[in-house]
């Protein structure tokens, strides 16, 4: 009987998937068995039985769920806390972590670490055969994304699909390519990301439900979407062309804003000069008129003498000019002689004979 148990215990430990009872307990027992040979029969059997019964206790952590199999067949789900199952070989318990959110990378690998750890920008490398995909307008785009998922149904997760993680990886790739294939390259590169993520998540979930994987897709997040290296310069040039466009327009607007105020200033200057000319003309006329009227009123008081005075003063001014040639001839001489006028010596205009 004892030897049988040993065998069973050993077998149990060799078996993958089964939850063995505490190995240390067993080892202790084994040592005891060696020490006390025969006298222990009555003692050993109850101890064995107690230990055997005790091996049915297991603890389900808060982030886990317990799945109990009876003779390999699914029997029940247990919740967090201490639990008991009938010991081996009747029942065994599995405790998958169901609340943990796992992540898987597509199109790139973060280097030097396990997949489930946090994403670190800059230490990843692209996996081109995964990231490059065809778009619906026959372009190629490089999409790097991650999928976050968790176990929704522990039973399905454990028993339905051969390799749920690989299935998820396949589904993710197929779904993203299908969605990208339906859209245009610009959707993926610019404004359509949100939509693509949502659609991919939905399609992935649909595929995973189709296989009853028990997995739930929490989120699909596009990390780095860019045109393939071969054409990236052309794409960047489009961006700078867009910048150039607005630069040209800004420059033109600057020109507009420069010359229009200047022109308005110039226009104001022109009209103001005209106003000034007008006012000056009027003022001069008024001044002249006022002067004339004042003089006239005095002239009217003593017409003859004023007239005479003005005449003489004028003549004096004219004649006192040393440059003026003066010649006095008698009337007779003037009448008898033909005045010789040396035309070449004359000034341009013929001299007036005299003032009145």
């Amino acid at each position: 009987m004892n030897w049988d148990w040993e065998k069973l215990q050993k077998q149990q430990q060799g078996r993958p998937g089964g939850k063995p009872p505490s190995f240390d307990d067993f080892q202790d027992q084994f040592d005891k068995l060696k020490k006390f040979k025969l006298p222990g029969w009555k003692l050993i059997i109850p101890i064995f039985i107690v230990l055997w019964i005790a091996s049915g206790f297991y603890i389900v952590e808060p982030d886990e769920v317990g799945v109990v199999k009876q003779f390999g067949q699914f029997n029940r789900i247990t919740t967090a806390g201490p639990n008991y199952h009938i010991p081996f070989p009747v029942e065994s318990a599995l405790t998958p972590k169901v609340t943990q959110i796992r992540r898987v990378e597509f199109g790139f690998r973060s280097t030097g670490r396990a997949k489930t750890q946090t994403f670190q920008q800059g230490v990843s490398h692209e996996v081109k055969e995964e990231s490059l995909m065809l778009t619906g307008d026959e372009n190629i785009v490089s999409v790097q994304f991650i999928v976050q998922y968790m176990i929704k149904d522990a039973k399905n997760y454990l028993f339905n699909v051969n390799d749920p993680e690989q299935t998820l990886a396949h589904a993710g790739e197929a779904a993203m390519r299908e969605i990208i294939g339906k859209g245009k390259i610009d959707d993926a590169l610019t404004t359509g990301k949100q939509e693509i993520q949502a659609q991919t998540r939905e399609l992935m979930q649909h595929i995973l439900n189709l296989y009853d994987t028990g997995l739930s897709v929490v989120a699909v997040q596009m990390q780095n979407v860019h045109p393939p290296d071969e054409v990236i310069d052309a794409f960047k040039d489009v961006a700078s062309a867009r910048e150039d466009k607005s630069r040209f327009i800004n420059e033109a607007e600057a020109y507009q804003r420069d010359i229009l105020p200047k022109s308005r200033g110039e226009a104001a200057r022109i009209t103001n000069e005209a106003h000034a000319y007008k006012e000056a003309n009027i003022r001069r006329a008024e001044g002249d008129a006022a002067r004339f009227l004042s003089v006239l009123s005095e002239y009217n008081k003593a017409k003859d003498i004023t007239r005479q005075r003005m005449y003489l003063e004028t003549m004096e001014t004219i004649l006192s000019n040393p440059e003026t040639e003066k010649l006095i001839m008698s009337d007779d001489a003037l009448q008898k002689s033909v005045p010789y006028l040396p035309l070449e010596k004359l000034p341009k205009q013929p001299a007036p004979k005299e003032a009145q």
């Binding site: 490059l132 294939g181 296989y211 040039d237 040209f248 022109s263 226009a267 006239l296 001839m329």
Partner: protein, 283 residues
């Protein structure tokens, strides 16, 4: 007493041995069939749980009851528009009838070979009916559904259920990819040119509008200026006329004197006769 104990022990050991070799459990992830001397026993496969068999003469064959994956190698396929593409697909399948499965294909390896034959040829046939862009884009689901349905039908006789044939990747061979890159580049260059010319167009328009506005502004100003000047001159004429008309005779007189004064400067020769009124007092 001692003898019976030994006998009892032996009986228990033998009994346990028989029991352990007769009892077997089938895991939740498995199904099993019992083979007796090379022939399956019973019509139904065994589900999960505890089962018994005859020791020595019967043995158990376990099958995976889960959904299994068959990831085919990428394959180059020609589309109707004579384009080549590399299609990478996977198939999800499971053993639904272990008895048939055991007799027809026996192992998972054998099943894979069948799957490879059937799924591959179905994919080829289906994809050959569509153009490349249909495969990539909107006909994808349709194609996958068709291939799945047909493969399912063809594999049922093997005890295999095909759940899903799904196209994972559709890639272009390197040389086709190159030509696509070339086209993408050309498209973007065109777009870049368009942006720049649009910029220049807008710029020229704005500048021309500004120039026009400037010209009009200045012309307006000049027009205003002439009108204002005219007004000023007209008013001046009126003021002069009003004042001077009070005594045209005096104006003519004083103005003439002014004119003489200004007019007779250099190079003037005055010829006067003593009879001139100016000489009156010289005589």
């Amino acid at each position: 007493m001692n003898k019976t104990t030994i006998l009892l022990s032996i009986a228990i050991i033998v009994g346990a041995f028989i029991l352990t070799s007769a009892a077997f459990t089938v895991d939740q992830t498995q199904t099993a069939i019992v083979i007796q001397l090379g022939r399956p026993v019973g019509d139904e496969a065994l589900g999960p749980g505890l089962h018994f068999k005859l020791p020595m003469v019967q043995n158990v064959v376990f099958f995976d009851a889960r959904i299994l994956d068959f990831d085919a190698k990428p394959e180059e396929i020609t589309t109707t528009d004579k384009k080549y593409m590399n299609v990478d697909s996977y198939t999800k399948w499971r053993i639904v009838d272990p008895l048939t499965f055991y007799t027809k294909v026996r192992t998972i390896q054998g099943a894979r070979a069948r799957l490879d034959d059937i799924v591959r040829s179905q994919l080829r046939v289906a994809l050959g009916r569509y153009t490349l862009i249909e495969v990539v884009s909107h006909k994808r689901q349709e194609i996958m559904d068709a291939v799945t349905a047909r493969s399912k039908e063809l594999l049922t006789p093997y005890g295999i259920e095909v759940l899903d044939v799904r196209i994972k990747r559709t890639d272009l061979p390197a040389e086709n990819a190159r030509s696509i890159y070339g086209r993408m580049k050309a498209e973007r260059e065109r777009q870049a040119k368009q942006y720049r010319s649009e910029g220049l167009e807008a710029s020229a328009k704005i500048k021309a509008t500004a120039d026009r506005e400037r010209t009009v502004l200045l012309a307006d100003a000049n027009m205003q200026a002439e009108i204002i000047r005219g007004e000023g001159e007209a008013l001046a004429v009126k003021i002069y006329a009003d004042a001077l008309s009070q005594s045209p005779e005096f104006y003519t007189f004083t103005r003439s004197l002014d004119a003489y004064r200004r007019g007779f400067g250099q190079n003037t020769r005055f010829i006067m006769t003593p009879k001139s009124p100016f000489m009156k007092y010289l005589q």
